[in-house]
Amino acid sequence: MSRIAARFKTLAAQGRGALIPYLEAFDPDLETSLALLKAMPAAGADLIEVGMPFSDPSADGPIIQLAAIRGLKAGASVAGVLEMIAAFRKEDQETPIILMGYLNPVEAYGHARFCADAAKAGVDGLILVDLPPEEADILEQPAQDAGLDIIRLVAPTTPDERLRYVLSHASGFVYYVSITGITGTRTASAAELQSALARIRAATDLPVAIGFGIRTPEQAATAAGIADGAVVASALLATLAETLDSTGKATDQTLPRVLGQIETLAAAVRAGEKKAG
């Protein structure tokens, strides 16, 4: 069983959803982001999404755009991101790592080489924002050969018929983009999430995580209660950005503030589930 499947199974047995925090690799530098990554599981991360910086993140809002720019400035490369995951994996064999990014850096690295090296580094799943199932044939076989899940995005605009098509190309879990918009902007209501989840569950047995627009502990608890997991990205990156000094360097506040926020989110997700259960 893959790390992703095992983790969701364990959480289901515990009767709660997953907290899935996001960090941008090399933001604001390799050392800080690796330290953050390593400390995330203890702070309550059940799975972790690691963003691969790209120069033109056209589905992302300003907060993730700035994080990507900081990462690139700090020298992020595909190879560098994979080395960072490998360093994490030496110490943590359990926590699933999902790489999230855009297709072009992966193409430049080579589809098959990327999948093989990512799996070797300890990556469990891939989310490529601009690779819809229509174009995914270039990556599906190498990912499968390497044992990587391709996590599919599903949006409020995805009609039922298309939902079945998209999900036929999904593995690992399903990422529900809860708003029509870019990351870190609006937030969907609990009622909207409930009806969307009913629609998705009718089409798949895979676990479902909700992302885009989840900022507060309450929102995370609601999403993780309705679905199987909640992704929090922009809110954490905004906190990280606040702690940087005027030259954009990490300070002694950077790790504690971000990790503290993850702890609060994790506590809410865990407590929320008890109430629901």
């Binding site: 589905a59 992302d60 855009y102 072009n104 850096p105 193409e107 601009d130 229509e134 949006a155 918009g181």
Partner: protein
Amino acid sequence: MADQAERHSTQAAHPNSLRHGPDARGHFGGLYGGRFVAETLMPLLLELNEAYEAAKADPAFHKELAFYLRDYVGRPSPLWFARRMTEELGGAKLYMKREELNHTGSHKLNNVMGQILLARRMGRTRIVAETGAGQHGVATATVCALFGMKCVVYMGATDVERQKPNVFRMRLLGAEVVPVTSGAGTLKDAMNEAMRDWVANVADTYFLVGTVAGPHPYPAMVRDFQSVIGEETREQMLAQEGRLPDVIVAAIGGGSNAMGIFHPFLDDASVRLIGVEAAGCGLDSGRTAASIERGRPGVLHGNRTYLLQNADGQIEEAHSISAGLDYPGVGPEHSWLSDIGRAEYVGATDDEALQAFQLCTRTEGIIPALESAHAIAHAAKIAPTLPKETLLVINISGRGDKDIFTVAEHLGVKL
């Protein structure tokens, strides 16, 4: 009769035609193009494709478009024999396809007119567009004024600065112009921001793409709407010279004016097609916009195509004196035409474009857009090397009034 047969061959669907692309997935030659977008946009692209296919098959749509092209855009545009430039250069016989005479001053309105009619058919009420030089933005703002639709134009902050007349025009026309400060503040960044707007406002918004790039069906649809340039050129040249042109030269940023004039000639092997990219400070200067000559295939803004990028797949900033060519990518059909050798792609530098700008103005009394000046620059380079009977068409894609400030600055003149 020969004319009739020639004309007929442009619509011919012979099995080896180069004019069949793209395939159902939007791929040209199996590799370029496609639909590389977030899932939120996929259902919209599928809907757009269906709506466009339905419009294409509907004679009423073509009738409506023809009406607006004739009575509002001012088509057909003339094919002008450039006598003095021909004499001065002493070689090929130079013709100019006068797209700068269209309403709003460029070829952009051909495409915009087609897409706005489509947006209306689809019941959309809000239009977003990206623009570089502002020509596409002005054209879009114009049709939005014509049909009373809400218009938001994203424009890089750098371009807002260097294309002030067009910014003012757009605002007069009722459009909201949003300066984009991310990246270098040019067309690439405007495109990112327009896509973000579209993703956030899918219900009522139509994304009116200005060039033959972006996710399928945009490259094919914009090409189809721009093909009127090549179709007219073909008829006009047959009428004036009794035969097809030998060489066609057009400037390439995204490549819509070039695709429009090339496409009806793709199956006429005798017609040399030359796309002129903006070499900026020189092809090997590191400050260029020549994506085909100095880039390699990759994925950006919804399509796979030649891109200026580093070894790690990060997109590089383009550079050109011309805001309309200042883009690190190119339409995917051009990438394919380059790979199969059907069209040639060359570069013209900022300086060469400036010289051509003056040459055209001085000899023909036509002030060309700096974009078009790149095509003129290359035509001026090769014309003296070609026999006098060679028929060479330059696509004058836009007029240069918008560029006089930039040109004056480079010539050291204070306005």
